[in-house]
């Protein structure tokens, strides 16, 4: 990565020149004051006029201070930072997709793509019906929880609590609140899994709508008693929600439906390789079992006898959760990915993501404390517990950056103190993994012999460690 300090765009020299991006006006000029009242017209826009070449350079320079999967290893746990195939970028930019209006009639290509994607997602998860509307995983969670709320509401049952294990993603309890639920937090047992006795105890309270579960959980461990878990919840009149953030290692191996889940969200930007875009856009489709299909948001795309049907109304539907159809541009990429890999390819994705994670786990546990030591799935979690000289997780993460790698997810899940959550994904070569092991070996040595290097890291990045406290105490959010 090249370092160049880039001034804010607002500090560039202004050149008040004609812009090339507006067509020449080819009708008679009508004065703006004749169209709208003077009082509606603004005097100025404090946005500078900058020559095109300078705009391009500005953003290219900024890009050089940013790190993506295409720059190097990005083992950010729970985010599945796999390679984003370039062909998908090309396909998503076809004018036959980008220029299509969501309200136009001749849209069969879009509808067919979505109907086919639904068909494939049903096969992959075992679920019976899908919506592609949610724009992200958390948006899918909200949709799924609203389906739960509606389901109980139509039965005149007042259920206002959701069980969430303490290892869950922060979005789970936050989504629950947005859907009008309060949460019961369940403490994981000594194996990092959901304790059945506590679950039973919580369910017996009576007003519990269900459970939100990630499987494999955020420790990267498969909940071995998942069928017992879903059975207990069902027997007590609850529904089971599957957080699909960690679906990658189950592709072609097992299906959420068979585990007993009623509602599933997927993160197409994780499992199905659509780029993360610096934070988005993503897509968070929801799959449900047959008895919940009527609660899905509208409009719904269905295939009946090979014909595509759009359902725009439903008495029990939760309604709309987003304007138009969903993040269609993201759906194209996910669809292309599934087509490229096919059933066999997807299974290999699961196998190799687990192979890569276990390869790292078995070697890194000799260097760092591994609180849950058994075969993991796509990721595993180390702790800073045994590090010498007060070196902590943040120090390790910042030092990793110096070696041209992204850091793992840190301080999550909360149940591991000083967590380092590592997810290599299936698209990393053994060479890259070995390199990462070497980096952590070096860092471990530094922790023992020269901790100061770690505490003041990073050293080779465009900027040194930043003051988060200052940023929050005196927020400067614009210029």
């Amino acid at each position: 990565m090249k370092f160049c300090e880039v001034p804010l765009i607002f500090e560039k020299k202004v050149e008040k020149q004609q812009k090339n991006f507006v067509p020449k006006l080819d009708i008679d000029v009508i004065k703006i004051e004749e169209i709208i009242p003077q009082k509606f017209i603004r005097k100025e826009i404090p946005i500078p006029d900058i020559p095109e070449v300078e705009v391009v350079r500005h953003f290219i320079q900024l890009s050089q201070m940013n790190f993506g999967v295409d720059n190097g290893f990005y083992p950010l746990g729970s985010c599945t930072m796999k390679y984003n195939p370039k062909i998908n970028e090309k396909l998503a930019r076809l004018p036959g997709f980008t220029n299509i209006h969501p309200l136009q009639d001749e849209n069969l290509g879009c509808l067919e793509l979505m109907a086919n994607l639904i068909k494939y997602l049903k096969e992959i998860t075992g679920m019976n019906a899908f919506t592609l509307q949610p724009a992200a995983g958390a948006h899918g969670e909200l949709t799924g929880l609203l389906i739960m709320r509606k389901y109980f509401e139509t039965q005149n049952l007042d259920k206002n609590k959701i069980i969430v294990p303490d290892s869950a993603h922060g979005t789970n309890p936050a989504s629950a609140r947005m859907a009008g639920f309060s949460t019961i937090e369940l403490q994981s047992d000594e194996n990092g899994e959901v304790p059945l006795d506590q679950l039973e105890f919580a369910m017996e309270e009576g007003d519990v709508a269900g459970i939100m579960l990630t499987n494999p959980n955020t420790l990267g461990l498969f909940e071995r008693k998942v069928k017992e878990i879903t059975k207990i919840v069902h027997e007590n009149g609850g529904l089971c929600y599957y957080d699909g953030a960690n679906l990658n290692p189950t592709l072609g191996i097992c299906k959420p439906k068979d585990m007993g889940f009623d509602i599933v969200h997927l993160n197409l930007h994780k499992t199905f390789s659509t780029p993360h875009g610096g934070g988005g856009p993503g897509a968070g489709p929801i799959g449900v079992s047959e008895n919940l299909a009527e609660y899905l948001p509208v409009p719904r795309i269905m295939t009946l006898n090979d014909e595509i049907k759009i359902i725009t109304k439903g008495d029990n539907s939760i309604g709309r959760i987003k304007a138009f159809w969903g993040n269609f541009g993201v759906l194209i990429r996910a669809y292309a990915y599934i087509l490229a890999l096919g059933g066999e390819g997807l299974k290999k994705v699961a196998q190799i993501s687990v192979l890569n994670a276990n390869y790292l786990r078995t070697q890194l546990k000799n260097l760092f404390y591994l609180p849950y030591d058994r075969i993991c799935k796509h990721e595993f979690v180390l702790s800073d517990k045994n590090l010498p000289n007060d070196v902590n997780t943040e120090d390790v993460a910042k030092r990793i950056l110096d070696f041209g790698c992204h850091a793992p997810t840190i301080y999550f899940p909360l149940i591991v103190s000083g967590a380092l959550m590592i997810e290599p994904t299936e698209t990393e070569s053994k060479e890259k993994l070995d390199n990462f092991i070497e980096i952590l070996r070096k860092i471990k040595e530094e922790a023992e012999n020269s901790p100061e290097i770690l505490k003041t890291a990073p050293h080779n990045t465009p900027i040194g460690r930043l003051d988060a406290v200052l940023a929050a105490r005196k927020p400067i959010l614009k210029k």
Binding site: K16, P23, I32, P37, R42, P48, V55, F59, M65, N66, F67, L76, L91, L94, G96, T98, I100, P102, N107, L108, G109, E112, I124, A135, A136, L142, L146, R149, G170, A174, A179, R224, C254, G277, G278, G280, P297, I318, G319, R320, A323, W325, N327, F328, G329, A336, L339, A340, T362, I375, L401, G464, L466, D467, A468, A471, A472, P475, I476, L477
Partner: protein, 447 residues
Amino acid sequence: MDFIPHDEDTIKEMLETIGVNSLEELFNDIPKDLMVEKLNLPEGLSEPDLQKYIEKLARKNKVYSYSFLGAGCYYHYIPSLVDFVASRSEFYTSYTPYQAEISQGFLQAMFEYQSIISRLTGMDVANASMYDGSTALAEASTMAALITRKKKILILEGVHPEYIEVVKTYCWAQKISIKIVKEEELLNNLDDSVAAVLIQSPNFFGEIEDLESISRDIKNKAPNCLIIHSMTDPTCLGITNPPGSYDVDIFVAEGQSFGNPPSFGGPGLGIFTVKEKFMRKIPGRLVGQTKEINGDKVGYILTLQAREQHIRREKASSNICTNQALCALMALTYLVSLGETGLREVAIQNFQKADYTKKKLAELPGYKILNKKPTYNEFLLECPNLDTFIEECKKFNLLPPLKISKYYPNLPNVALVCVTELNSRDSIELLIKAAKNANKLETGEKK
């Protein structure tokens, strides 16, 4: 085709290191009866075959030469450099910038995005994006209920019908009631129990509301009621007064018009802005300026995270995690590419071309413009024979206007016409011709 780098020997070597005999053994922790034999999916495709297949699908959609359709999704010119910037791998293959020191590029861009949205809207604080305009409006509504501790929202008629649907869904779960009111009924419905009034301007019918006077009236009658201003095509801000110049508490918009293609309605960009006093209640990511701990360099970092789900969990102001960062980057690139001069020109041309079209159509016998207020780039056109008009448009390769009966069944003969800077004079002439033809055919049939 897969994207896995290992060959068989490497896999074997790695299995040995782990201490297992096969890939299957890595899945021994999964109950046997859960294991599936295989997925019933088509065989994988090579890159050329995949390309051919998807291109075929894309051809099943119709791309028109010109569009007269808007209604929440707009055709504006996108400078080539926008996609060029968004195609930089360093940007689009990165994720939420948790590690600030190697994410300065995106963080600075988001800081600039927040700044430029503030400058354009006159609002104090902008977040780093929401999913789209509709969810931004829905979150603004629930946020207002949370702040005011009131459970009633008034929606002024003219908010995009799909946005109202989304607001309804979000509010239902939190037991917030909503009521849609006409302008003349607004003040009668307003009292201290109202958390917020939602106003779209330019509204769904294209009309610019007099926000200065509406907001004054609202605050006079109910000083604690929040005013939420929503917009579906913010290119009008190139010439119209910024929402921050009125007494607006929250301003949200669909930012697709800024450098993002229609793309069948998504991904778009949720613009979310608030007045300073609500800074710590705003949903979504915020990027702040700070300094090095051991140095003087200025840098950028995700901040005020105590509002967010990963810290606050069930007490977070929203559940949003993944947002629309790349779309925000495209909006930023668009806005600085055009600059003040270009933005003003775009807005003026939208006004001019729509006005020109409006007047031409109004001259035709049988056609009538229904708007009573000034309009931006959309207007309501009553037609003698709407279905024929739409078919005639298609014959000229024009994407026809919206039949507004899709959302308002009581208006069967009304079209919502959208004219932007991309509509050439020729395309407008064709639209007029289509309208004339439709009328002729109509009279012909009657004979």
